[in-house]
Symmetry: C2
Subunit: 280 residues, 2 copies
């Protein structure tokens, strides 16, 4: 596996591969790789000749007071894990390589970033769209792989790629979970032992929602109320949002049909998210 920090070098290498007819898959990450990331890399490797994994803690998607500085980093372990999962290139640029002096360009996807995580993280999805647009252009990838855990991010990036006529296909891959159901996340490392034990209520709330819907419930408010009840069993959990939204517009849905059911729950200063996509 090649480890590259320089944009021009990465572009040059990948253009040569592409011109020789090889397909390229990209897995954009912020590093501190876990099984969720590795499953993306494995899927990418199954479907592309060359896989590039980017590891970049992107400052423009963090708001003031968010966890940019303390976001967990371990490049050495990331290299070992990415290579073992099949990555051909690990691209780990510095912030000044990505955003040099005089940098001024941003990509915004309107509306889709307003609801869900956008409510508490203004500017977050503008930062995400911008860095991913750059990574798509640097890599010239044919395929990009994203985890469903960040489902809103995926729907926004899919909109961006379609709207800007980017020549790349985006793939959403299943959430990888701990044995008790907690969705894997680099941020799980922040949880205390007590918080970690109770963090299972996110996936339990989603399981409760799914059971209700399978039993015939079609009223989103009833589903949300049931989920609130489940999360509130944990004394450490503080609900940020529990929502049922349309998968195209990401606006609140009244009735269940084809929806993203998502929640964000804080344990102390650690914010966890989880979701399911359902179609009845």
């Amino acid at each position: 596996m090649k480890i590259l920090k320089n944009i021009n070098e990465t572009v040059k290498f990948l253009r040569t591969e592409k011109m020789s007819g090889k397909s390229i898959g990209i897995v954009p990450t912020m590093g501190y790789l876990h099984e969720g990331h590795l499953s993306l890399i494995q899927t990418a490797k199954k479907n592309n000749d060359i896989v590039i994994v980017s590891v970049f803690v992107n400052p423009t998607q963090f708001g003031p007071g968010e966890d940019l500085d303390k976001y967990p980093r371990d490049l050495e372990q990331d290299c070992i894990k990415a290579e073992s999962a099949g990555a051909d290139i690990l691209f780990c640029p510095s912030a000044s390589e990505i955003y040099p002096d005089g940098y001024h360009t941003y990509v915004s996807v309107e509306k889709l970033g307003d609801n869900l995580c956008g409510n508490s993280r203004p500017g977050h999805f503008r930062g995400v769209a911008t860095i991913v647009a750059k990574l798509f252009n640097i890599s010239g990838a044919d395929n990009a792989y994203f985890g469903q855990k960040d489902a809103q991010q995926f729907f926004i990036l899919r909109r961006m790629a379609a709207d800007l006529n980017m020549d790349i296909r985006l793939h959403i891959c299943p959430i990888i979970r701990e044995p008790d159901g907690l969705a894997m996340s680099s941020r799980n490392v922040y949880l205390t032992r007590d918080q970690r034990r109770e963090a299972v209520i996110l996936s339990e709330a989603l399981a409760g929602a799914k059971a209700l819907i399978e039993a015939g419930e079609r009223n989103a408010a009833v589903v949300i109320s049931e989920m609130n009840k489940i999360v509130n069993k944990s004394e450490l959990a503080k609900v940020e949002y529990i929502k049922v939204v349309d998968t195209e517009t990401l606006s609140d849905a009244e009735y269940i049909d084809k929806n993203l059911i998502a929640l964000a729950v804080c344990f102390g200063s650690t914010r966890l998210i989880d979701n399911i996509i359902i179609e009845v």
Copy 2:
């Protein structure tokens, strides 16, 4: 010359050409082609195997009350002229092909769009950056050609392409002028006979600035004052701005070194722009 209105068809055709090793040049226009556009097409043809000329009056770069509806259009003449100048493809999509229902993505270049034309046309350069990003992606072009008349647009797009790591080179080409010096523009057709006669004062003001600087003047305020004096000889002209700016930041310059000297002047409701780039 192929005339294409459909994005997928255009992408498919150009990707095949590109994969066979051909270079692609794009000349983005709003149509109503004049000698200025044709010189861009000729330059593109000299330096690329395939030249695509886009003709699209882009609604997102017009503000409320601007001339979107009355902007001059003549697709039949555009086809004849583009083909004679060497275009291989004329791409003339509908507005709904470019901005379908549910379209939400915009590209913004901060700061560079604030001064000069940005002052009186808020949102204009966001619309320009967005459509040009789309056209770059649709065409997969290696080279893009722009007229110096829209110098601010060029500097903004160059910034966008660099910032977003777009794999394309942007070229700025000389302003083509009428025999009396008036910069060619599709909007010149709006001028009455009297306005047309006096419109020459834009290029005269720039010539005056150039003469002053060649004589040793280095104070931007003195240059601007001289230009104002020249423009104000016309009773029909109303100055919108006369500026000396830095070519990288596009912010006002105090002293002459490497600058864009630009002005916007209205004749009735017709707004004309012109500029020179100087280096002392």
